[in-house]
């Protein structure tokens, strides 16, 4: 069992929904993003997604693109991202960490080397946007063998015929992308998302977490209410991008987490 599996077991036992938050590693610098990261569990975050910056984030909207650019301009690298996780783990050995990003920096490092480094740093799962099930041999299968969860995105275009393929090698949880679009775009309606979550849950025992477009505590509550939890990314990254102090960023996170936990 990974920390992710343990977390969901605990949430289930207490009847709570999961709140997952995303920040970009190294945005705007390592010090600030590490300070935010360390404060996330205290603000109510159940699972941390940490973005690995990439020059060409094709599935992301402007907010997360700019965060990646800031991080890269600040000299962020894969090694420094892993070091951030290592540092975080010194004070927290239970909060699950999922690395989210694109395949090329990992492919460039070499899959086997990356997996051993990620595991050693204390990463529990991976979400790699540009690796659909058709490319499972690249990283998904090796990651599972290395003891990391490989979390797949399911989307409104994933029809019933395709869904089993998407779920097949997924572990940890299923990330349902609430809209056809990029991160930080239009907000989803809980009523529209509910049947989609039910459709996925009919075919898997894994928790289904919904993300993309959720920006307010009310939306977090509504979406978490019809799923096993929700993800907020751009709304938090936007605050960081505007240079808000860490405490203020964490206050927003706490409000969002409280919303999700009411769901």
């Amino acid at each position: 069992m990974t920390r992710i599996d343990q977390k969901f077991a605990a949430l289930k036992a207490s009847g709570k929904k999961a709140f997952v938050s995303y920040i970009m590693a190294g945005d705007p610098d390592v010090e600030t993003s590490l300070a935010v990261m360390k404060g996330l569990p205290g603000a109510g975050v159940d699972i941390i997604e940490i973005g690995l910056p990439f020059t060409d984030p094709m599935a992301d909207g402007p907010t997360i693109q700019l965060a990646g650019q800031r991080a890269l301009e600040g000299g962020m690298t894969l090694d420094k991202t892993l070091a951030m996780v290592t540092d975080f783990r010194k004070g927290d050995d239970t909060t699950p960490i999922v690395m989210m990003g694109y395949y090329n920096p990992i492919y460039s490092r070499g899959v086997d080397l990356f997996l051993s480094q990620a595991k050693a740093a204390g990463i529990d799962g991976l979400i790699i946007v540009d690796l659909p099930p058709e490319e499972d041999d690249e990283l998904c299968i090796p990651a599972q063998k290395a003891g990391l969860n490989f979390i797949r995105l399911a989307t409104p275009t994933t029809d019933d015929k395709r869904l089993p393929k998407v779920l097949q090698n997924t572990s940890g949880f299923v990330y349902y992308v609430s809209i056809t679009g990029i991160t930080g775009a239009a907000a989803p309606e809980a009523a529209d998302v509910a049947p989609e979550v039910a459709r996925i849950k009919a075919r898997t025992d894994l928790p289904v977490i919904v993300g993309f477009g959720i920006t307010t505590p009310e939306a977090a509550e509504a979406i978490a209410g019809i799923a096993d939890g929700c993800v907020v990314g751009s709304a938090i990254v936007k605050d960081i991008g505007e240079g808000k102090p860490v405490a203020e960023v964490l206050a927003r996170v706490a409000a969002l987490a409280a919303g999700a936990h009411r769901g």
């Binding site: 990439f54 020059t55 060409d56 984030p57 094709m58 599935a59 909207g61 402007p62 693109q65 650019q69 890269l72 690298t77 894969l78 694109y102 395949y103 090329n104 920096p105 990992i106 492919y107 460039s108 490092r109 946007v129 540009d130 690796l131 659909p132 099930p133 058709e134 490319e135 797949r152 995105l153 399911a154 989307t155 409104p156 275009t157 994933t158 029809d159 395709r162 998407v166 992308v177 056809t180 679009g181 990029i182 775009a185």
Partner: protein
């Protein structure tokens, strides 16, 4: 035919959309069902005679195909070696080879019931071709173009707008061709149901590399029969040469000759200011290494951490940090040879073509011509080179004037 257990170089890609390790389908899940549907519909269209009948009719009456295969006599005499033919794809409607592919994709889009076409463009040639065919069929057209390119290719921006297209200047990233492609993909992921993404080169997720190659292969197919007509039955070129950004005009010329071992195949990348550590070039094969970007694995310009680098070239059409996956495979198998030409060499070739043949070439094929200038003098008179003159230079005269120190202000 082919070496090392390969029966043919022309059977790719495989079921996984791969050419060897290159290619594939590295896209987000939202797009995955779309590209699988596209592949299915394309596989069907490919064997449908009515599809090709429609293509042939438009190629002939709208584009002006076949494009001539022209014996460049003065160039041949000047260089004093191999006999040089130019495949005149710059005479196509819209002034480049791009329209060969656009027609194919848009006929397919219409058959799929798509009503909105999006495209990325660098120099603007693919954007102009897409806007043109959309105007002809009454389709909505949105072209993504790096803000930097919008500025340096103003005439093409105006052309696209005249043709009714919406041109969206892309400011994300560094505002270049690769960023335009990112934004086109973001648009597609958002508007999946009514939108068709018309990719301009032999890159992107499968089926694009093979589909674009198939549409561009008309260049090589015509070359085969045209050369036989002029040089006698069965006469094949000894060398075929083309410039490469993403590599669509080159793939179009090369593909029908892949299984003819007597034909040397040479791709010419943009060497910018020189292929060295300064990385001021776009020579993905000679100066890059394998990576994954824009849906496919191929050679990419990237740093040690797998971050993508910007290309640099005098030619906006070659200014892309990647290359089509089939070229990456042809490079690794050794079937084709890839070289690079600097901005300076391309400018010299540009001027030579104007002076000796009365053809103002685009800066892209000027790179290919520069390599012809290097090898032709070393080859015998019975050696036939076919070079793809894939675009005309009207769009480049401002750039060239600037580099030659000529003041264009009236």
């Amino acid at each position: 035919m082919a070496e090392d257990g390969l029966n043919s170089y022309m059977t790719g890609p495989d079921e996984a959309g791969r050419f060897g390790i290159f290619g594939g389908r590295f896209v987000s899940e939202t797009l995955m069902p779309l590209i699988l549907e596209l592949e299915e519909r394309y596989e069907f269209a490919k064997t449908d005679p009515s599809f090709w009948a429609e293509m042939d009719d438009l190629w002939k009456h709208y584009v002006g195909r076949p494009s001539p295969l022209y014996y460049a006599e003065r160039l041949t005499k000047h260089l004093g070696g191999a006999k040089i033919y130019l495949k005149r794809d710059e005479l196509n409607h819209t002034g480049a080879h791009k329209i060969n592919n656009v027609l194919g994709q848009i006929i397919l889009a219409r058959r799929m019931g798509k009503t909105r076409i999006i495209a990325e463009t660098g120099a603007g040639q693919h954007g102009v071709a897409t806007a043109t065919v959309c105007a002809k069929f009454g389709l909505k057209c949105v072209v993504y173009m790096g803000a930097h390119d919008v500025e340096r290719q103003a005439p093409n921006v105006f052309r696209m707008r005249l043709l009714g297209a919406e041109v969206v200047p892309v400011t994300s990233g560094r505002g270049t061709l690769k960023d335009a492609m990112n934004d086109a993909l973001r648009d597609w992921v958002t508007n999946v149901r009514d939108t068709f993404y018309c990719i301009g080169t032999v890159a992107g997720p499968a089926p694009y590399p093979a589909m674009v190659r198939d549409f561009q292969s008309i260049i090589g197919k015509e070359t085969r029969w045209q050369l036989a007509e002029q040089e006698g039955d069965g006469r094949l070129p000894d060398t075929v040469i083309a410039a490469i950004g993403g590599g669509s005009n080159a793939m179009g010329l090369f593909y029908p000759f892949l299984d003819d071992p007597s034909v040397n195949i040479i791709g010419v990348e943009a060497g910018g200011k020189g292929v060295d550590d300064r990385m001021e070039h776009c020579a993905s094969l000679t100066g890059g290494r394998p990576g994954v970007l824009h849906g496919n694995r191929t050679y990419l310009l990237q740093d040690n951490d797998g971050q993508i680098l910007e290309g640099f070239s005098i030619s906006a059409g070659l200014d892309y940090p990647g290359i089509g996956p089939e070229h990456a495979w042809l490079h690794d198998t050794g079937r084709a040879q890839y070289v690079s030409i600097t901005d300076k060499e391309a400018l010299e070739a540009f001027q030579l073509s104007c002076a000796l043949e009365g053809i103002i070439p685009a800066l892209e094929p000027s790179h290919a011509l520069a390599h012809v200038m290097k090898i032709a003098p070393t080859l015998p008179a019975d050696h036939i080179i076919v070079m793809n003159m894939c675009g005309r230079g009207d769009k480049d005269i401002f750039t060239v004037a600037k580099h030659l120190g000529f003041d264009m202000k009236i």
